[in-house]
Symmetry: C2
Subunit: 514 residues, 2 copies
């Protein structure tokens, strides 16, 4: 990247960063003497630690990306930040070669798993930017690939930012001349010789190409909530102080902002919005469909056998499956799942029941806990309730604010797109029953001793919200059905019919994918 | 295994299992009719669900191993348990092929990572028994290897059991004739044909060898707290009911036992035991050792350079490093760690600061959180405080009961042995300072604004316990120093001397390993 133009970009677009500081960055640090550095440092460190201490109590995390040309001192900056901050609140992530557990999942799985929890800072040396950038510079990919990768990055960062994550991206800049000097100096000194890798000199030869591509990357992924800061790195002291001050400023600004915000309201139920006259998909489900016991037994054997074979075939071809079960309370999710798993080798599947999140999960974006459970290549994860809870219970009960659940449509679409792109078969079931059938089942459950635990006050409360849920389900199905896979609305009043419909659908989807 | 002798074994040794039930197992279930099964089932299911519900509030986890000959229906039993229990409280684990993240760590890493949390059940199909057993049957290992593996298993299970884990191991038994019949039946039916793997027939040919070895395994790893139950599997209904009833009985017995126990006392400080007249290792550390600033700078550069190269060389040879830092408050752990990391590529190391455990960690054995962070091959983990907290703060503050911290000596030894066996370099530092020096540092820290956060009331409280800590440290060092690596007691009054001592020691240990 050319320093001036990019610094300009950052200066124009970022809301966090005062002009004077940017001027510092662009010019000031050339002149930062050791004396000046030592004068500035104690105050900066004290404030950083104070801000970090406030962060610990706050409800957001900080993602810091340190990138830039080789020799600009990325490692040193990371070092410095770890020194200035309380390291107990910092996670430094370096994306070393992907492991097979990572390679066998969508590419962003490894990034999701390393995101810092609320109250913590994550420093990333190497990040979701590295691969797209390097691949393009080395000519392994075309511009169109890069564009798509940048779109994905923008989506990812927007998702995090909207969840409250403070994102700060630093591009350390060094002129080609300075880079050459720096690499030579390191090499000449026997004690730092080891720091220079062969790839560093290779990158040096590609300097122009590299900075040109980086500039494009920065331009396309810079935004008020995902700012890039271009930092001149020729003078290490100036570089470090600048990064430290930018971090401090942004952190302080965000902390102040949080204090002004009203606390999130969770108790008040928002009134259910007026029912739209449009299609009510649930009402179109023919709940009178049923299956005789004889037919059921025959088909159960047939489709279970087929499913068992398909799941093994998928395993052999390293194709993963994600099955989502949603439905009314007592719709029969559990028993339907068992009809699937009866046919599947226990080594090939995993059931993830979705209950209230634990504190580690609560400390992350709501999708984090589901990313965790995306299966490795060739395996199957069955979600008994899922990320769609955001659009169902969290919406209806007011656990998520309207702006939160509304943006979930887009977030979920992007999430599932990533699954699809990496070849995962996603099948989603909503098991539908009538309100009357639910009541019958609730009552029956209370009569059977070993099923009594299944009925709680919550179930009755949900039932009273039937209308609100009906609307939420409708919108969910309409807005999260994509071409390649849509929701299957299962006619659940007759359990036998429902189970066969599910088995059939699943076999069909797997068959198509194989 | 021969049914009779093993059933006998289980009958004699297990404390949980009433004789009548074992008689059931050995003979009764041959005759269990469908009618009888359906008569017994509702009550069993209701009780199981009740017990599981009580478990959710209890402070222990349940580990269930389902093993046995092929065709005995391991998968079916797992299926059944998942059906009878509330699946939201059950984790089913199948140890599919190890991933590289698993292969690059000590073999038990993958077992530790899948252990159920307190209040939950973990069902293991395939377990720590599979590999040693199969390797021996196929002649890949000798008897002595098997013995060593069984010793490790016994240690592992003892560790879990002492932590409160309820361990139940089921060996499903089938005669050679029954096995042949079962495999043939499955193969003949086109809908279950896929269930029979080529390896199943191969195992069948090795039936005698297999059961003979299994019998040995069972005998050597059976104990009152780690019981094996041999279950006749020729009649599936009888098999399932037996497993269900044994699980229920054991669970109920444990739950009743827990209710009788007195609550764990945490508040009362035990009096410090009388100081033993033996060696006081800490007093032998020469705290007057120091280094001039000039010498320090020279040696710092030298050893940092060397360390940087060694860490890269270790990476190239896939050798991992685990560095443990313990020491008095204000001993300079943090700054010593920084002197190491300054020399290391940030992609190669990770600092794990050990603070209070989070709720996921608290729900497991105390070593679980450290197992999590064992580095992959070629990488380095630095623990800023560690598992030794069990023998230090937890002991002195009474967070761990005497029997708990006393058995930690053995647990830690076994843990570190496993690290050593898989080629990990373990280096342990206790940074020692005098009580007077600590006071000086506390006071100084309070004067420097950005260090003030480091001094808390807890530090002063710990200081008042100096004598108790001194004794604890002494015992720790004496009892957890093994031949291959011992503790390095660092003379910390002079920070410069300490840092160089640490760097030198680390370079030496790494150098020896490479």
């Amino acid at each position: 990247m050319k320093k001036d133009s990019c610094a300009q970009t950052a200066q124009t677009k970022s809301e966090f960063e005062p002009k004077s500081l940017m001027a510092d960055t662009a010019e000031g640090n050339h002149r930062l003497s050791k004396k000046e550095y030592e004068r500035l440092l104690p105050d900066l460190r004290a404030r950083l630690v104070q801000a970090q201490s406030a962060l610990r109590q706050a409800n957001f995390s900080v993602v810091i990306i340190i990138s830039g040309v080789d020799g600009a001192g990325k490692g040193e900056v990371v070092q410095r930040l770890n020194e200035w901050l309380d390291p107990r609140g910092v996670d430094t992530q370096a994306f070393w070669q992907a492991t097979d557990e990572e390679r066998e999942r969508p590419p962003y799985w490894r990034f999701w798993r390393t995101l810092p929890a609320r109250g913590r800072l994550g420093i990333f040396v190497g990040s979701w930017y590295s691969q797209p950038l390097v691949d393009r510079v080395y000519g392994k990919t075309r511009n169109s690939h890069l564009d798509r990768a940048l779109k994905r990055i923008a989506d990812f960062e927007r998702t995090l930012a909207e969840d409250g994550t403070l994102i700060l991206k630093f591009a350390l800049h060094l002129s080609k001349k300075d880079q050459r000097r720096r690499l030579r100096d390191l090499e000449r000194n026997p004690e730092t010789h080891w720091r220079v890798l062969p790839s560093d000199w290779k990158h040096h030869q590609l300097y122009d190409r590299f900075t040109q591509t980086a500039e494009k990357v920065i331009r396309q992924t810079h935004g008020p909530k995902t700012p890039w800061f271009v930092v001149e790195a020729a003078n290490p002291r100036g570089r470090d102080i600048t990064v430290g001050r930018l971090l401090l400023k942004s952190l302080q600004a965000r902390l102040a902002q949080r204090r002004d915000e009203k606390p999130k309201k969770t108790s008040s139920r928002r009134p259910v919005e007026a029912r739209k006259p449009g299609t009510n998909l649930l009402r179109e489900v023919d709940l009178t469909q049923s299956l005789s016991d004889k037919k059921y037994r025959k088909q159960l054997g047939k489709y279970q056998g087929r499913l068992g074979r398909l799941i093994w075939a998928a395993n052999a071809r390293k194709i993963s499956t994600v099955i989502v079960f949603e439905g009314w309370d007592a719709a029969g999710k559990g028993s339907a799942i068992r009809r699937l798993t009866e046919a599947m080798d226990p080594r090939l599947y995993r059931i993830i029941p979705t209950a209230a999140p634990n504190d580690e999960e609560r400390a992350h974006h709501y999708l984090w806990r589901f990313w965790r459970h995306i299966p490795r290549a060739g395996l199957c994860t069955i979600f008994d309730r899922s990320w769609y809870g955001r659009l169902l219970v969290e919406r209806v009960e007011g656990f998520a604010r309207p702006e939160e659940w509304k943006r979930a449509y887009q977030e979920i679409k992007e999430f599932e797109e990533q699954l699809a792109e990496s070849g995962i078969v996603v099948v989603k079931f909503w098991i539908h029953i009538s309100k009357a059938e639910q009541l019958r089942r609730f009552k029956k459950r209370q009569e059977i001793s070993y099923k009594r635990y299944k009925i709680t006050e919550e179930d009755w409360r949900n039932r009273r919200q039937w209308g609100a849920y009906e609307q939420a389900v409708n919108e969910m199905v309409l807005k999260t059905s994509t071409e390649s896979w849509s929701w299957t609305l299962v006619a659940g009043n007759d359990k036998r019919f429902a189970r066969i419909q599910i088995l059939k659908t699943l076999c069909l989807s797997l068959g198509r994918a194989l």
